[in-house]
């Protein structure tokens, strides 16, 4: 279902890749169960299968989390009240 929905064709990448993607997907479903166990309110975040579910966490970081932050000075303006 995942492969059809997100149009993944692992055959071209070989059997090893197919096996690895399946493992990443299984790891993702375990993470989803853990993260969703904290979602107690209707507005709480939900975690589940999306197009990143066949990536390892390392692959995800390498591809999408590439920003770096420079240290910013603390804000010293006046505090505001709602």
């Amino acid at each position: 279902s995942f492969r059809a929905h997100f149009r993944r064709a692992y055959e071209a990448e070989g059997e090893e890749s197919n096996r690895r993607r399946r493992l990443h997907f299984q790891d993702a479903t375990k993470r989803h169960a853990y993260l969703n166990s904290f979602s107690t309110l209707p507005q709480s975040a939900k975690y589940g299968v999306n197009r990143f579910s066949d990536l390892s966490q390392h692959e995800f970081r390498e591809l999408y989390l590439r920003a770096s932050a420079d240290t910013a000075p603390p804000f010293s303006g006046l505090k505001t009240q709602r």
Partner: protein, 214 residues
């Protein structure tokens, strides 16, 4: 401050973009803030070129990553005008920088501010209302599995790794939250947006906050 504020209601926030398999979030964040601030100033909302920032901001590393602070410093120091996206389209690959003559139309960043608002998220709300959408750096490791809703747990603030655009907040309901535009396409999260609980500096949202002046 109003209980709820969203720059999208003023029609000054462009549609959600997709960075694809390129580490260009820092460029999307900076360009998103710039085009919104210009629209707040009364100009027509126009999608500006992310690829221009990606190719030309030499202190950064294109698709291999970068910093919003460095990109804004480069824009301010060089006075480079950001051209419309239609003239310099996004390719999700680092390319050779295309130069445009100074006479060519575009948007220049006159200045920017960069602050750490941790412990002062109320002041950050005020900053958002006064200055326009804010370019921030967050820890987005747990966003790999996010489908929607308000993030309240398991979003550390230790390792900043992803740049996004804060466009609003909502404190009216039970859980006050930031409204954050991501650059992973409209099929991710809440139609391309992620909601993060206000308070506690979740995901490090208040650690590195930049506002643009055009």
């Amino acid at each position: 401050l109003p209980g709820k504020f969203d720059w999208r209601d003023k029609a000054v926030v462009a549609t959600v973009q997709n960075q694809e398999a390129c580490g260009s979030c820092w460029a999307f964040s900076v360009v998103g803030a710039t085009q919104s601030v210009r629209a707040i100033g009364g100009w027509r909302l126009q999608q500006l070129s992310v690829q221009q920032v990606l190719d030309c901001s030499f202190r950064n590393n294109g698709c291999s990553g970068g910093s919003t602070f460095q990109a804004l410093s480069w824009l301010k120091q060089t006075g480079v005008k950001l051209v419309p996206q239609s003239e310099y389209p996004y390719k999700a690959k680092t390319g050779i920088c295309h130069f445009f003559p100074q006479s060519h139309g575009g948007v220049a960043v006159r200045n920017f501010t960069s602050h750490d608002f941790s412990g002062q998220e109320e002041a950050m709300m005020s900053h958002l209302v006064e200055r326009g959408p804010l370019a921030v750096i967050v820890d987005a490791v747990s966003w790999q599995d996010y489908l929607g809703g308000i993030i309240q747990h398991h979003c550390s603030s230790k390792w900043a790794n992803h740049a996004v655009l804060v466009v609003g907040y909502d404190t009216v309901g039970d859980i006050p939250y930031w409204i954050v535009q991501n650059s992973w396409g409209a099929s991710w999260g809440n139609e391309g947006y992620v909601y993060i609980k206000i308070g506690g500096n979740l995901c490090g949202i208040a650690d590195s906050v930049a506002a643009v002046i055009v």
